[in-house]
Amino acid sequence: MSCPGIDELMAWIDGELPADREEAVRAHLAGCTSCRKLIEDQERIEKTWRESYVPPSEFEWHRFEGELARRLYPEKRKRGWLHTALPVAAAFAAVLLGIRIFVIGSPPPSVLGRIPGREPYETTGAAVGDLYRGGETDSLVVREVCDVVEETAPDGVADLPASEESSSQSVTTAMEALHSTASGQGEELGELEEAGALSVIATGSSGGDGGEAAACDERLEDTEVTGTAGTLVPGAGGYQTGQAWTEESANRSMQVEGVVDDTISRIGNGEESPVEEAFAETVFAAGPSTTSSPDAALSSTECDSTAPAGLVASWYSVGQEQEDEESTAPADSDMNVGYGWSGGGGTLSGEEILGGASGDQAEAQSLENAAAPERQRRDGIDGTIGEIEQAIAADWRSKSVEGYGSTLLPALVTISFSIAPDGTVYDVVVTLPSDSLFLGFSDEIESRIGALVFEEAEDAESVTVEMDMVLY
């Protein structure tokens, strides 16, 4: 039998020959060393070629999927920034101002283990920060902010646009309106304005499911009431995204920090100021700073120098859980009972600010003394928070591929948990931003922080913490 053609031999390798020809070629190969050598060589070449391929690591796929998601859904990214910037700025300012305006009820359902973006985020009530996680459109955020401000802010505080335009411009407009109104409330704010550094603007938020203002009261009663504080740096076009983080903007944010600290100190010393009145009567707004990224915002706030390398910084607000009827009170009264402090700065709480405003120096000192036990308690909580931060950061780093170090995509993670007086931590919820599509790691985080979690707390006088971290 003559040798088959090369086409037929190759087709035999590929299994593409009809059954009768396949058998014939097989029979031929049994007795033909030259054809067999050709087949063996070809198979070796192709086996070597196939095996030389080393697939990308899972890390690289995470990165790819994140980039692809942002490219496929550019509006998603924009929304992500919007939704991210709000709580970032809010938390940033809350820390700077030392004002606790969160009153948190039952935490939202756990989202541990789910892939962000794969299912709706259900809130049991919402802080502004919740909206960015669960909001479906920019207009929802705008409407939520506007609705609640209309409900909770004193008359004339804000004249908000009713537009439901789904764009960041709506947010800009809303923020500018708030900014404009709030900035007229006192000399302190005016000073900050003149310093070109800061506007304190007003808004608040409640209820997680959108809805009409008419339903707002109900939601306030049966869920939580939230508000927060924020900053809007004027002179840069209002709310903007996508700006490069520059040294100039960094310096400006540092100026903001300095001015705010100074203002808070003066308020805490009992110097008269109309600012605390605004704080007392208004639910403050989350206005994004012009820093364009969480990283940028973070770089201007306090960083935990003891944190591991993978942890850039974190913010947190802590609230006293309300188990009595106070918890159903509207936002503008609830905010008076909150706590707040900066990560290590020892700034004053909203309560202290409010109390100190009408008293003299001795009164301020008295308040300071009275606050000492609470400060100790906070220090303890700080330690617990630090543990959790480090556990999560370590977990995040453990996901990195050896040799790739810290090149993982940055991710803003919000962690909510409660701490009992004995330090017991419970009700931990880790939330990933909706724009980190495909990026799932929460099972690992849950496992890592599991040792710190106790499902039930015996003492009702626990505090609830909401903490945002940027991990990279």
């Binding site: 593409e16 050598k37 050709l38 070809q42 095996e51 030389s52 391929y53 697939p55 490219r71």
Partner: protein, 199 residues
């Protein structure tokens, strides 16, 4: 060629058409599922065609972006994965020819997607295999893009002749002739490492 394809597509045995239908209606998760299902295969074709990681990542991303943009016009008589292969192969051929015209050479020194080489148990075999793999890589890089595409789709993606024909929109006979030419060129290029005369 089309008939079995039509039958397969009609059954939608792999569930891709159902996902595609959802994706067309704006279901991002459905498209995400398709991405996850095929991203590795698409990347491998891109990687093999471009011979470097950076281009491969870009092409893979471009391929899915184009797929999303064009999915409304996708002919559901065909299979989604051959369509994806077609997109990425065409993108790779275009890029390769563009680079070739410009005299650019862009392939990694290492042939692992992340710069790592495959590990072999036996040291002697490793040396020999690494040499052979290196030679094959150079030989494949020397193929014209149309020949390389057929070779990659057959050897890496393990597509049948009919699937390759569908992917590249060419006749099965053309697939066979291109594949044989590609294989012959590679055998000739690496024959000195195989010992003896292979043809």
């Amino acid at each position: 060629m089309i008939l079995p394809v039509l039958l397969l597509s009609a059954m939608d045995a792999d569930g891709d058409l159902a996902l595609l239908s959802k994706a067309r209606n704006g279901d991002r998760d459905a498209f995400g599922s398709l991405v996850r299902k095929y991203e590795k295969r698409v990347f491998r074709v891109a990687r093999r065609m471009c011979m470097n990681d950076d281009d491969a990542w870009d092409l893979t991303q471009d391929a899915f972006v184009r797929a999303m943009q064009a999915m409304d016009g996708f002919d559901t008589r065909y299979r989604f994965f051959t369509w994806m292969y077609r997109i990425v192969t065409n993108l790779a051929i275009n890029l390769t020819e563009k680079r070739r015209r410009r005299g650019e050479v862009a392939f990694d020194e290492e042939y692992g997607a992340d710069g790592r080489q495959a590990v072999f148990d036996d040291v002697a075999e490793k040396v020999e295999t690494v040499q052979l793999a290196d030679a094959i890589r150079e030989a494949v890089a020397g193929l014209s893009p149309p020949l390389r595409a057929v070779f990659v789709l057959r050897v890496d993606s393990e597509l049948s002749y009919a699937e390759i024909a569908e992917t590249l929109d060419i006749a099965i006979g053309t697939v066979m002739s291109r594949l044989n030419r590609a294989r012959a060129q590679i055998r000739q290029a690496v024959g000195y490492l195989l010992g003896g005369e292979s043809e």
